[in-house]
Symmetry: C2
C-alpha cells in the first residue's frame, strides 16, 4: 500500500510501530479465517515469519487480547478466540445496550448536518452492497453504526463500541455471508433515520431493538449452522 504526500508519490513514511503492523497483520489473518478459531499461535514462529523479533509480536498479541480477538493462557501462549453462541449473544446484547443509549442521547441534539451525513453513509452502503466484497460491506455497516455512536457525543461510549466492533468483525466474518440485498439494507437503516428524525425517543428505541435484534438473530443462526 503506497500513499501520496507533500513530497511526491510513493514516498511512504515507514515509521509506524512494528507493533501496529503486526497487530494489523494478525487481525487480518484472524478475520480472514487464515487461523482457525482456537488455534494456537507461536510467538517464535510468528516472529520468524514476519521477520521481526518476539517483542513486537508479543505486544501486538496482548493488544489483540484486549480487543477480544485472542485469549492467552499463562505459560501456554495465545489462542485465536473461539466465540460460541452464548458469547455472541452477550456481545449483541451489549451492543443493543450501547446503541439504545446512543440514540436516546442523539435524538436530543439531532440536526440536519448529522442527518445528512448518516443518509450519505446509507447511500454508500447501498452502492457497496451491489459491487464490493463482503468485508467491505461489513466495514461500511460498522461505519454507519459508529457514526451513530459518535454523534451521541460520549467518547467513552464510542471506545467501548470500538472494542466490541472487533468481536463483531470476527463473528461476522465467521459466518461468511452477508445480506447483500441493497433494498433491505436501505429500508432497514432508513427506519432508524426516520425514527431519529421523528424525535420520538420511544420510536428510536423500537427501531434500534428491531435493527440489532435482526442482526443478532442472523449472526447467531449463522454460528449455529457453522459449528
Amino acid at each position: 500500500m503506497t500513499a501520496s504526500n507533500a513530497f511526491g508519490s510513493g514516498m511512504v513514511i515507514q515509521q509506524r510501530n512494528l507493533v501496529e503492523q503486526v497487530a494489523d497483520f494478525l487481525t487480518q489473518a484472524i478475520i480472514s479465517q487464515h487461523y482457525a478459531p482456537g488455534e494456537r499461535l507461536s510467538e517464535v514462529q510468528l516472529a520468524r515469519d514476519l521477520g521481526v523479533s518476539r517483542a513486537p509480536v508479543r505486544e501486538a498479541a496482548r493488544l489483540l487480547e484486549s480487543r477480544g480477538l485472542l485469549v492467552s493462557q499463562p505459560r501456554r501462549g495465545f489462542f485465536v478466540r473461539a466465540l460460541d453462541a452464548a458469547e455472541l449473544n452477550d456481545v449483541f446484547d451489549l451492543r443493543l445496550c450501547l446503541e439504545r443509549h446512543a440514540l436516546a442521547r442523539l435524538v436530543e441534539n439531532y440536526d440536519a448536518e448529522k442527518e445528512q451525513a448518516l443518509r450519505r453513509q446509507v447511500e454508500l452502503m447501498c452502492e457497496v452492497a451491489l459491487n464490493d466484497s463482503d468485508s467491505r460491506k461489513i466495514e461500511e455497516d460498522l461505519v454507519f453504526h459508529r457514526m451513530l455512536i459518535a454523534f451521541a457525543g460520549n467518547r467513552r461510549l464510542l471506545r467501548t463500541f470500538d472494542d466490541i466492533t472487533h468481536e463483531l468483525r470476527l463473528c461476522m466474518a465467521l459466518i461468511g455471508k452477508t445480506h447483500a440485498d441493497p433494498d433491505s439494507i436501505a429500508t432497514c437503516h432508513w427506519a432508524l433515520l426516520d425514527a431519529l428524525a421523528s424525535g420520538d425517543r420511544e420510536q428510536c428505541r423500537e427501531a434500534v431493538d428491531y435493527h440489532i435484534g435482526v442482526a443478532r438473530d442472523y449472526v447467531v443462526q449463522g454460528i449455529g449452522e457453522a459449528s
Copy 2:
C-alpha cells in the same frame, strides 16, 4: 494474604507473573496518588526501582493503558491518566447505560437467592462505612454494583463494567472523601433492591437513574473542586 490447603496453612505457591505484580504495584501507586495525574513514568527507572527488567514493566504498563489508568505517546512513554470533568461525565454516562441494562435484565429473573446476597452486601457496606478506610468503602460499593451486573447474566457486559471500574476507582480516589454516612448508604441502595423486588421495570430504571446520577454529581463536583 495467605491461604490454607491440603498441606496445611500458609503454604502459598508464589508463582504469579512479574507482570501482574508490577501491574498491581502500579495500580496501587496511581490510585493512592503516589504519582500525580499527567506524570510521566520511566520504564527504566521503574524497572530499577522494582528490581526487574523493562519487559514486565512495559507489559504491565500496556495492561494499565488498556484499563484506562495510563496513556501512552509513541516514543515518549507512559503518562498517568488525567481525567477531566467531561471524561468523568462520559464514564458515568456509560455506567448508567450499563446498569440500566443490567437491571432491566436482572428484574426478569430475580429470585430470593440473589436478593439475599445483595442484601447481605448492603449490610456489609453499612458496617464498613462505620469502621474502615475510604478505599475499603469504595471497594465494597463496587462489589455491590458488580453483583448487580453479574446477576444480569451477560459476561461481556460484566467485562465492560470491570473496565470502567478501574477508571471509577481512579477518580473516586482522586476526590478523596466518600459519603461515610451508613444511613444514606443503606437507604440509597435499598431503594434499588426495593425496585428490583417490585418487579417493575420502570421503577428499576428510575432507581438506577437516581442512584448513578447522585454518584456522578458527587464525583464531578469533587473533581471541579480538586482542579
